[in-house]
């Protein structure tokens, strides 16, 4: 029982609770909680994937084509579907929705055969998509929303204790653009972002009921990860999970880790 080995667990978007974000402050946008009987340890060197998305709203003019300039631009992310290649899925780096029933909620995915459809024309500037052309085939002006992978800002991973005295410690921090252009499938390129070796030892231990947060900051643009349509958020954080040992108490482990976090590096 006490010798049960650890096993790798991949924290995907399902493992996280998403929160709304206001530009200009550094805020927690996603939180995963360690189960009360388990301990997480950061497996240093394992590849990480984090691609948060931001929302842009536009209007498609009735029965005609509209070209929509994206602001911010959408980075072409290697490991996601590519709409410029005709991959109009809800899992691409740029996903569009339109309001199909005039209820004010753009919630129908735009493809090349919907009432609002892609014409296949995209403005591109090296590794970014700068504009999208869509066509409204009916006779109704429609609201459209685009969810593009975040280009701006910083995205950090931190661990945070639960309960009183909210102490957090940063585990890893990168520019959002570096996260977007990371390539988890190619270890020989240095575009792969891996768990930093500094997270070995006690620093990489996340005890029961602790939180693992994604913290976002940008002065101007917000993420919309909490939006129900933001299905193209990509997160894959590997942790190695093991049950508590017989001689460990959750409270004791939490106290030990919290004291270590309070120590300034």
């Amino acid at each position: 029982m006490s010798a049960r080995p650890s096993r790798p667990v991949y924290l995907g978007p399902d493992a996280f609770d998403f929160k709304t974000y206001t530009p200009g402050v550094s805020g927690i946008v996603a939180t995963a909680k360690v189960p009360s009987t388990q301990v997480w340890q950061v497996p240093t060197g394992m590849p990480l994937v984090v691609a948060l998305v931001g929302k842009q709203t536009a209007t498609a003019t009735a029965s005609g084509t509209t070209s929509i300039d994206l602001d911010p631009l959408a980075p072409k992310v290697d490991y996601m579907d590519d709409p410029t290649q005709g991959e109009y899925t809800s899992d691409s780096y740029l996903v569009g929705y339109f309001d199909s029933d005039a209820d004010g909620e753009p919630d129908t995915l735009i493809t090349d055969s919907t009432a609002v459809q892609y014409t296949g024309t995209f403005g591109e500037d090296s590794d970014f998509v700068t504009s999208v052309e869509i066509e409204e085939t009916g006779d109704t002006e429609r609201t459209v929303e685009f969810f593009a992978v975040m280009r701006h800002g910083l995205t950090k991973i931190q661990k945070r204790n639960s309960g009183k005295g909210n102490i957090s410690q940063e585990l890893q921090s990168e520019d959002s653009i570096t996260w977007a252009y990371s390539n988890p499938d190619a270890p020989d390129t240095d575009r792969q972002i891996t768990w930093d070796r500094a997270n070995g030892g006690l620093r990489g231990v996340i005890p029961p009921k602790f939180n693992l947060d994604l913290v976002f900051f940008d002065k101007e643009f917000g993420t919309s990860v909490a939006n129900a349509n933001a299905a193209n958020v990509e997160i894959s954080l590997p942790v190695s999970q093991r049950p508590l040992r017989d001689d460990e108490s959750p409270a004791g482990l939490r106290r030990k880790v919290t004291l270590n976090m309070a120590d300034p590096n």
């Binding site: 590794d127 921090s173 990371s182 575009r191 500094a198 900051f217 300034p264 590096n265």
Partner: protein, 153 residues
């Protein structure tokens, strides 16, 4: 010590427009209270910037890192490294993140001003990315990223 990135996206980064034909800062990092940052030479920088009005910045443009101590006069920036825009103009942001073509983008510090190749900036010091270009840059397009270490005091 935490590894972080000295980036124009940081909350304590201020991005401004330069003056044409005049060496002036385009990004200023005001080191926050109770913090020290350490930058060392030898890493590859990642940068993207357009000229005001669009298009690439002229090839004659020079960029550099510079610091200013609290009581120095406002324009007294000590330049510690200078590099050319060319390798950044030719590569997209994505290509710059691969190490294969990093050689031309490695930052070297002036050995007379930074003798041991690493610089520690304390609380209230300022670090800047300075530009000496024949034209103005579009400050909203500026992106700069360089590895640094952060220490809390």
């Amino acid at each position: 010590m935490t590894d972080e990135a000295l980036s124009t996206e940081l909350s304590y980064a201020t991005v401004v427009q330069n003056l044409a034909d005049n060496p002036t800062p385009v990004a200023i990092w005001d080191v926050p209270e109770a913090t020290a940052i350490r930058i060392a030479q030898g890493h590859a920088a990642i940068m993207e910037v357009d000229a005001a009005g669009g298009g690439n910045v002229a090839r004659s443009a020079q960029f550099g890192l510079a610091y200013r101590e609290p009581n120095d006069s406002l324009d007294a920036w000590t330049v510690i490294s200078a590099f050319s825009i060319a390798p950044f103009n030719t590569l997209s942001l994505k290509d710059q993140q691969s190490g294969e073509n990093a050689q031309r983008r490695r930052i070297r510090f002036d050995p007379e001003r930074v003798p041991d190749g690493a610089l520690v900036l304390e609380d209230a010091d300022e670090l800047a990315l300075v530009a000496n270009a024949p034209e103005q840059i579009d400050e909203t397009s500026l992106f700069f990223n360089y590895p640094m270490q952060v220490r809390n005091r």
